[in-house]
Structures are given as C-alpha cells and as structure tokens.
Symmetry: none
Subunit: 208 residues, 4 copies
DNA sequence: CATGAATGAGCATTCATTCAT
DNA sequence: AATGAATGAATGCTCATTCAT
C-alpha cells in the first residue's frame, strides 16, 4: 500500500468510522424509544438524520449493525468496570468494586444498558439461537471471568470461604442485572443504597 | 340458564378454550424456536396446524394472544412454586423451598421459561413501555410479594438478620433467573447442584 | 302442494321474510353509519344481533342482499311518490306533486335515501358495470317513466311548452337528488322552501 | 438555496412528481374499470406496472392517494370550466358557458368524471363522514361559488328575475351531474343537444 | 460517500363464505 | 333456522435490501 493510499483510506475510514458511530448512537436511541421489535432501519435512519440505504452501506446487514453495537456496548461497560476493579487490591475490595462499578455504569448510562438488554434478549444467530442463551464472546465472558478470578483468588488467600465460584459469580451477576430490569425495586431502593446492600449481602455470603 | 343451555355453552366454550390452549402451546413452541421477533401469526398458525385467520378469530389481537399467554405462564409457574413453599413451616425452609421450586420449575418446563422471557423482554404496551420495565401485575407481583413476606417474617421471628428485604428478594430472583438465561453456567453446574449452592449462599446471607 | 305444506311453507317463509327484513334494516343502518366500503357482513350481522352465517343462509350472496335491499328501497320510495302524484289531476299539479313528494320522502326517510345512494354508487354488476351507469330496472325506470309521461301529457294538453322531455325529466331528477347529496344547500335552505322554489323553477321552465 | 440544490431537488421532485402522476392516472383507470370498492393498491399498482410498495412510498396512505387524486380532478375540471366562463361578459352568457363547459368537460374527460364520482361517493373521513355529505373545500366550493355569483350578478343587473340563488345553483349542478350519472339519458340525447336544451331550460327559469 | 427510488416478501388483520352441529 | 368454528384469499402496509445516480 502506498503512502497516498494509506492517507486516503485513513481518511475514508475516519469518515466511515464517524458515520458508523453516528448510526450506532441512533440505534441506541431507537432501541430505548421503541424497542428492538420496532427498531427498523428506517426508524434508526430517521433518528440519525440519514437515508436508510446509508446504513446498509456501512453495515452489511441489520444483524451486523446490532452485533457491532452489542460489542461496542459490552466493551465500554467492561472497560468502565474493570478499570475500577483493577484499582483495588484485596479480593474483598475487588468484589465490592465490581458490584459497585457494575451498578454505577448502569446508573450513568441507562440508555446503553437498555440498548444492550434489548439486543441480548432479541437478537438471534442465523440458526435462531438467542444471544442470551449463547453468552460466549460477550460481556459475560470478560466480566464473568474476572469475577470468577476474584472469587477464586479470595478463596486461595483465605479471604473467602468455600463455595462454588461459578454459582456465586452467576448469582452476583443476576443480582446486579435484576436491578436494571426491574423498575419496582428501583422505585423502592436507590442505586447507591442497593449497591451498599448488595455488597454487604455478598460479603456475608462469601466470607470464610 | 337451563340445563341444555349450560351443556351447549359449556361445550362451545370448551371447544373454543381447547383451541385457545392449542394456539398458546403453538406460540410457546414458536417463541422457543424462532423468538418473539420472528414469531408471526403465520408461524404460530403453521405450528398449530391451523389457518392464520383462526388465531385472529380466537384472539382479538397479536398482543392479546401474547398477554393471555404471559398470564398463563405466570400463573402456572406461580402455582407450582407457591404450592411447594406453602408445604413448609419456618422462614428458612420456605426460602429454601422457594429457590428450589423456582429452579425446579424452570428445569421441568424450560420451554415455558424461555417463552416467558421472550414475551417479557419483547412485548411493549401501546405507548411503547416494555413489559420488563413495568413488572406490575406479573409473576414478580405474586412471587416477589411472597418472597418479601418470607424474608420479613424470618426477620421478625429472629431466624434472619437485618437487611433490606427488597434488595435481598431482588437478588434472590436475579440469581435464580440468571441460571436459565446463561447457558455457560448450566454447562458447568447442574440444576440440583446449583439449587443447593444457591440455598447455602442465601442462608449465609440472611442468617442472623 | 297439499294444504299442510302450503301452511308450513307459508309459516316458514313468513319467519324467513321477517328475518330478511331484519337483515335489510340492519344493512340500512350499517350503510348509514360506516358506508358501503366498510359494510361487511360481520358489521351488518353485529347490528342485526345475529351471526354472520345467517345472512349467508338468507341471501345467496352479499350482492344478493344489496340487490334485494336496493329493490326494496326503490319500491318504497316509488310507492310513496307515485301515490301522491296519482292523487292530482293536471300535468302541472302532477309535476308539483312529483317534486314535493320526492323531496318529502327523502326528508322523512333520510336513512333510506343514504342507503340507496350508497348502494347505487358502490355496487357493481359481476362484469363491473356500476349501478349508477345502468339505471335500468331501477327507481329511475318507474319514476322517470312517470315523469316523462307527465311532461309529455302536459305538452299534448297545452299546459307545457316545447322542450325535450328527456332532458327536462333528467334535470328535474338531478335537481331533486342534488338536495340530498349536498349538505351545503341543506344548511342554507330547508326542505320545504327548497321544494317550493324547485316547483316554481320548473313551472317557469316548462310553461307554454 | 443554491442553483445546484435547486437543480438537484428540482430533478428529484420531478421524478417523484412524475411517478405520483403515473400512480394517479393508474388510479383513475382502476376506478373506471373496477370501482372504488375493488380499487386496491395492488390493482392500481398492476395498472401502473409498479410494485404495491412504491405507492406506499409516494403516498402515505390509500386515503392520501385518493385525496390527492380528488383534489387534482377537482382542480382540473374547475380550471377548464372557469377559463371558459371568464371569457364571456353578461350573466346570461356566463351561465350558458358554465353549463356548456361543465358538460363539455365531462364529455372530453369521462374517465376523470367517473373517477371523481367514485371517490366522492365512496371515500370517507376517518370519522366515517362520507365526502358527499361534506362538500366543502371541493369542486362544489369553487364552482358553486362561481355559479352563485353569476346568478346574483344577473339578478342585480336585471338580467334575471327573482329566485333563491342557492336553490337555482343547486338545481343547475344537479341537472348537469345527472347527465353523466345516467346512461339512459345519454342513449337518448347526445351531449351537444343536452347542453343546448339545458341552457334553454335555465334561461327560461332564470329570466326576469 | 450518500441518496431516493424501487422491489418483493412478509406482516397483522378482515373478509365472504362454508359447514358441522 | 341458526350458530360458531374455520378457511383461504385479499387488504393496506412496513420491511430489509438493492441500485442507479
């Protein structure tokens, strides 16, 4: 590749990348406003202020768009959470940070979380397997691995007692996710209080 | 109403009810196979072996069908779980029974659970509010109330320590639900083991 | 045919005739409320308080129902108008009576007139010729013939001047019909005043 | 707007406008051939040689298409008639011109007239009020106003006698319209003869 | 890179009609 | 005589996608 071509393609992919970003943001907005079922390319295009065809130009498919968006959302949330977890030292502190950061991210980016839920619970692979039954190569991968690692380390270093790390990790994730899915709990307990309570709950559950 | 009329209308509504049941079963199957987004009336009719128009004859709407199905599924699971909970006496036993029965129901009726999830996470009210952000008048209502009641009674009778019952109830439901949504945990831990571990986890978390 | 059979079939056709009458009345109501396009058998049945199938039982076809209704309406209006025309003697008086009775009938039976208009301007023969372009065997037949006869007699007896009787008859009918089709004129001139004016107009137009 | 933009948008809307025109012409043809009731988008599309979806692309609705067509037809006929009326001077001449031009237009554009009748007598507002009971903002508006104005001026200037202008105008329009609706008169009297007779009829009826 | 035009398949729904009861 | 159940075709409409410009 010549230098000129590099420049050219560099510029093009910059523009293209900006456009893709714009489309994905419009998709997030659309998913929040009308949900996955009604989130047609036309609706997304309308919110992006562009033509429908342009989405097809930048993404090979509707599912391609949704996959890219999903990866994007997963990556952002994982980055946010892991960054806060890695600042701490002990397993107990890491666990607290994990719970706190997970909930905090959902609180600061509720549109991102809703979009993620809409995709995970609606999108399916070409052979009709739903994403929520796959959960490989997704957030769960990275974040669940981290969580398992924290629990395992805590057990090895005597901070935590004995329990099945997979079950515990799964429970923690379920408890975190449930807060966002259920509005009834959000009406009764605010995010900060929920976070504190959850940390206490799992400190008791994990302690030696 | 004369006896004859009773017979006649009884038979008629029996036929109609049987057909509605058949359609709802086909809908469960369809939701499992291809998901809510693709679950068109045509697809459901195909699986029921009937014409599309007949669904419209028995249900005023597609949303009417889905709402009836949702209520049906919620009712069945609640009946199953509560029946097992009510057999026990102490709060601790009730909590164990609740967790165990919830997981057992999902284990014996995985298609029902998937269908329920598909509806809750995809259906929306006419003003576009997703069902999963409503969560009133749903399973959560009855079962969550029961769970909260168990926790509160346990605290009053000194079986459980102090914690926010709403947060704890929510965490328990999240931990239970996560097992069905995540196939990675099901590959590593079987239902019975998961149930035992989860009971231990929340016994520790709730104990005085 | 034995006497018994006669009785029986007489009773049957009496019941049947009553039912047909009921269905046609429901059809009139339906045509007034929602118009020909939306006047489905289901809508008519709903207003008659019977099942859809019963209409199909009593009328071979939807067009059969509409044809019977049309004939019925035409007959009723013709009877009403001709009865009043025949009471008078001179051509001038007959013409006045014709105009007055035509408008009076529309005034006393506006639902009948609307139903008639809805059918005439919407129904079509199997080969797609619209009824309003046929106008044979219809009201126009009987009433137009009468009108032409009145005009012709008037000319022969020197009451009227020379003019093309077909054109004059057509104009009179158009002027009468327009009053019911156009709400703007009904808002400005009431039925009685319109009738008087119209009579004067055509007295001037026809006089020797 | 720059010159380029003008050109571009001009060309684009030209293509779109041509397509809309084509669709409306196909609709006229369809209304003539099979009538309003059967004039589905599919039938119109078939006659236009395009896909059904393209009609939905260019018109928001079926009623939108019909409304645009109606306005189009009304405008064309009004332009034709008024242009001929405005060429004359006296009220008597204007009245003759009005009658003659109205019939002539129907004679040269019989498909347009039929299409107009089909729409007016079948289309309904969203609240089910038929167009023929509205008759505001329609042909009647412009042409009826002109007709009333002619009659009023004729009376003021002593050309015409005393009569209710609304009733006379309504009668004239009824007499004109009836010629097109009734094939029996068309079989007996040709357009030109009818026109002459009608002019004479209303000259007598209006004269001082 | 971007658009608007266009397609054809699919959607939920309604329809006239038939038929067993 | 009358019903409710059932069908299959047709309706208006939206969709993801393609393509010339």
């Amino acid at each position: 590749m010549t230098e000129e071509q590099t420049k050219a393609s560099g510029k093009q992919s910059f523009i293209a990348e900006a456009r893709r970003e714009q489309i994905m943001n419009a998709a997030i907005q659309t998913l929040n406003e009308i949900g996955y079922v009604k989130a047609s390319l036309a609706q997304i295009a309308k919110r992006a202020g562009i033509s429908t065809g342009l989405i097809s130009y930048h993404f090979s498919d509707k599912s391609d768009l949704m996959n890219h968006l999903l990866m994007n959302l997963v990556e952002k949330s994982a980055t946010y959470i892991l960054e806060r977890v890695h600042r701490t030292e002990t397993a107990t502190a890491k666990l607290s940070a994990f719970i706190d950061a997970s909930l905090a991210y959902q609180g600061t980016q509720p549109m991102h979380f809703t979009a993620l839920v809409e995709i995970v619970f609606n999108a399916r692979t070409p052979d009709n397997t739903p994403y929520y039954k796959l959960e490989d190569e997704l957030e769960e991968d990275i974040l669940l691995c981290e969580l398992i690692q924290i629990l395992r380390t805590g057990q090895e270093q005597g901070e935590f007692g004995t329990f099945n790390v997979y079950v515990m990790a799964n429970s923690i994730q379920g408890a975190i996710g449930e807060y966002m899915s259920s509005s009834s709990i959000r009406d009764k307990v605010d995010l900060e209080a929920y976070s504190k309570e959850l940390i206490q709950t799992f400190e008791k559950a994990t302690k030696a």
